[in-house]
């Protein structure tokens, strides 16, 4: 039974929301008086506003993925041998809100087999993260400035070209989920994993389950609470706190004795403006928590404060510079 028919206040709220859409609307005193008339009215008004914007965003999605025909939603890309080749970017696929993304996902399920190895490129703008559901129940969270290609109809392999992805893998022993980063293959053993690829360095942390690296020839096992950092031919293992893996999805960046360069790269991805580290701080390490949702400027300055150094705003972003306080104290 419709809640609307029984709730006069909500109906009134809806009336206001619709009327205020009019270009010439100018009855603001009357609207204020209505809002003031009952302490519950502001919440009703907000709810009706949200309903309209949700409804409109679904409408926009409708146009992109017309129902019931959704086969055109995924395209055959000219599949070449080299998976890291140039990819077509489907901008519109990412253009909507969360709902839009999820709706495209819905279309995956009704696909006819579109031929050999279709692939889909997903790309996020700086400072914009996105969630996406793959066929088979695996979900991905893409951090800002990230490019990922999903391979195949059953979507059990992704290539992380750049940026950071958190994957919650729905394990299927027959079709293991695979992540390719910088030519390395990671294969899941029922897993929650975070992968970042930037400037030739791949970092993979495991929150739950385990991952094998290069199953064909090295077959190294990385299990929960461990991370692997690959820089060119060098492979290094790290310990991580499993519950902190992928915490960027909540706007929290957590570090334990990590390279300041890594922190700066993470901030660049999350804030959408470059954060650079001055040469004198190249060897500085950082331990602490940064909350990126408190605002870009605040976050960068908090980092500088914690390190006892200075953050200077430049034309394009920030430069972290100056000697750590510790050294200053030591000097006469």
């Amino acid at each position: 039974m419709s809640e609307l028919q029984h709730d006069n206040a909500l109906l009134e709220a809806l009336d206001w929301v619709v009327r205020i859409q009019a270009t010439e609307f100018d009855e603001w005193e009357a609207h204020a008086a209505w809002l003031e008339a009952d302490p519950a009215n502001p919440a009703h008004y907000l709810r009706a506003s949200e309903a309209l914007s949700k409804g409109l965003s679904t409408l926009q999605q409708l146009d992109r993925a017309p129902l019931p025909v959704a086969a055109n939603d995924i395209e055959d890309a000219n599949d070449t041998e080299d998976a890291t080749d140039t990819y077509k970017t489907h901008k519109s696929w990412w253009a909507g809100a969360g709902v839009a993304v999820a709706a495209s996902v819905a279309a995956f399920f009704v696909l006819p087999h579109p031929g050999p190895e279709p692939k889909r490129v997903m790309q996020t703008a700086p400072a914009v993260s996105r969630n996406v559901m793959l066929a088979g129940g695996t979900s991905l969270s893409l951090n800002g400035d990230t490019r990922v290609t999903v391979i195949g109809v059953n979507q059990r392999r992704i290539i992380v070209q750049e940026g950071e992805v958190f994957a919650k893998v729905h394990h299927d022993a027959e079709h293991p989920f695979e992540i390719v980063a910088e030519g390395r293959l990671f294969r899941d053993v029922g897993t929650e994993i975070n992968v970042s690829v930037h400037a030739g360095t791949t970092r993979l942390s495991v929150a739950e389950g385990a991952v094998t690296l290069d199953p064909q020839d090295g077959n190294l096992l990385i299990d929960a609470g461990r991370a692997v950092v690959i820089e060119g031919g060098k492979i290094r293992f790290d310990k991580v706190s499993a519950s902190n893996v992928g915490s960027w999805r909540r706007g929290r960046l957590i570090y334990a004795d990590d390279d300041l360069k890594l922190v700066a790269d993470d901030l660049t991805r999350s804030l959408g403006r470059p954060v650079r580290v001055a040469p004198e701080l190249a060897r500085t390490r950082f331990t602490g928590v940064l909350t990126v949702r408190q605002g870009a400027n605040e976050t960068v300055h908090r980092l500088a404060d914690l390190l006892g150094v200075t953050a200077v705003e430049t034309r394009s972003g920030w430069l972290i510079t100056g000697k750590p306080t510790g050294e200053r104290v030591a000097s006469p």
Binding site: D26, E29, L46, A102, S141
Partner: protein
């Protein structure tokens, strides 16, 4: 002697300060009140300051009213020159800012709530849609199509042209051979139907939980 400069930042002539003692930057501009010019946004802002504050508080945002007023002022100051600015336009700016803020506050409360419920459940936060949600989204798409069909071809066409193709209402009036107010009526009918559908779906979803 009144200050003429518009660049000073620390004036609080009415003695009130928002939280944290942040100076009321916009008060400086009151000195410009004697300039005779077509009413622009800045003048409108000062003339309607009390109404804007009342309107913000009416939305239940009394705690952040001064901050929001400040934010609106920054927007007003940076707004590109518009030929025809009216109070309606300024109030619409205030309205949109208020709704953004109220939505953000609501989301924050929801997050805090989730945080308390699930402890430090970082990994469960903000998940990608699960299979159930995907089904619901497909349902939403189908129901939206249904709503559009029920609205009739003319309303559906006007809604799609305006909201999807971005065609202005004026242009639509010409295309459809209608008055501007008729175009608006079609749009309002469609908005009402879409929002009602959404409210119905949300309440069903709420009951299932």
């Amino acid at each position: 002697m009144p200050r003429r400069s518009a660049t000073h930042t620390s004036i609080a002539s009415d003695g009130r300060r928002p939280h944290g003692g942040r100076p009321l930057v916009y008060l400086v501009r009151q000195d410009l009140g004697d300039v005779t010019a077509a009413p622009n946004l800045i003048h409108l802002f000062h003339a309607n300051r009390d109404m804007i504050l009342r309107y913000i508080r009416a939305h239940g945002l009394a705690d952040t009213a001064e901050d929001l007023l400040q934010e609106l002022w920054l927007k007003v100051e940076r707004a590109p020159p518009v030929v025809e600015v009216t109070r309606a336009y300024l109030m619409k700016m205030a309205h949109n800012l208020i709704i953004d803020e109220a939505r953000a506050a609501k989301r924050q409360r929801a997050r805090d709530h989730t945080w308390q419920d699930e402890g430090a459940g970082l990994l469960d936060a903000d998940p990608a849609p699960n299979a159930e949600q995907v089904v619901m989204i497909r349902d939403a798409l189908r129901r939206t199509e249904q709503v559009l069909r029920q609205l009739g071809p003319k309303t559906e066409r006007i809604l799609r042209r305006h909201r999807i193709d971005g065609v202005s209402q004026k242009q639509l009036a010409v295309e459809e051979g209608l008055s501007l107010s008729s175009v608006e009526k079609h749009l309002q009918k469609a908005y009402r139907a879409l929002a009602s559908m959404q409210i119905d779906m949300d309440s069903v979803e709420g009951q299932l939980r």
